[in-house]
Amino acid sequence: MKRTLLLLAIVVLLAIIPLFIQKGAEFGGADGEAEAAIGEINKDYEPWFESLWEPPSGEIESLLFVLQAAIGAGFIGYFIGYMRGKHKEG
């Protein structure tokens, strides 16, 4: 248990430290920046296919990302509880 908490603390730190050493950075990760990089190499490239559906706003996109994480986390939580309960009985 102690070891798990320690490991989790390292993961959290790995995510927090960048926020402090890169204060001015944008922390983007958007696909738009990829377009820029490809555009630099090949100015004439035109994407030939569009996404069938795009989340209409950043809010809705984050809602869907949260749902994805929540569904996964929900199952992991269920799994952990189920296995611990089973372990106690057995």
Partner: protein
Amino acid sequence: MKLSWWKCSYFLVAYLMVPKQAFAMHIMEGFLPIEWAIFWWVISIPFIVLGLRSIRKTIEANPETKMMLGLSGAFAFVLSALKIPSVTGSCSHPTGVGLGTVLFGPLAMSVIGTIVLLFQSLLLAHGGLTTLGANAFSMAIVGPFIVYFVFKGAQKIGLSFSLAVFFAAMLGDLGTYVVTSVQLALAFPSEVGGFAASFTKFAGIFALTQIPLAISEGILTVIVMNFLKKYNISELKALRVFSAKEAH
């Protein structure tokens, strides 16, 4: 000797701190020329077919591992939804395929990884359908195969179970991004310098951002694996996760 090691790591850290822009890990919809899109689809499909067969076989032989297959999928689902800031000043997300690969093998994860990618491309406009073949190849095929070979290799040289899991998951995560860089460089070779120049550019953006995230992915995989080791030891043995020595 010791001093030069410190110097090297100092410059590595300093290099990591140079602000760079990065982008979401998957290749965006329409951003691979059509011949490359088809090429990667053709390469990926056989792995997915073999993966479906591998999953069916495992479930038939060990029906009690179904819950763990679900866990592997859920883990990949959560991790690939987490966009985490990195030292380069941009964000990226882990892949989460390491856990399932250690448990069920690389072929099974080619199916699960592709499902995650399909979900993200349809509902989140993250990645794409035309580029799904290429993205599946990097995240759901090469990533898991790296995990598999690193894990087996680490066990063979006698590393502890936790360390083997850590290095396998971490290097699989990093490898995925290297492959993505190769794919982009192949499709977009630079006019000056060709493939190598483009690869350096894409890898500089991708791989550096990914280093801390890969470490996080390795640690998270170890945490879940420690739990499984405590509560699901019989399933782990049925799936032959342990080396001959550790099984006793």
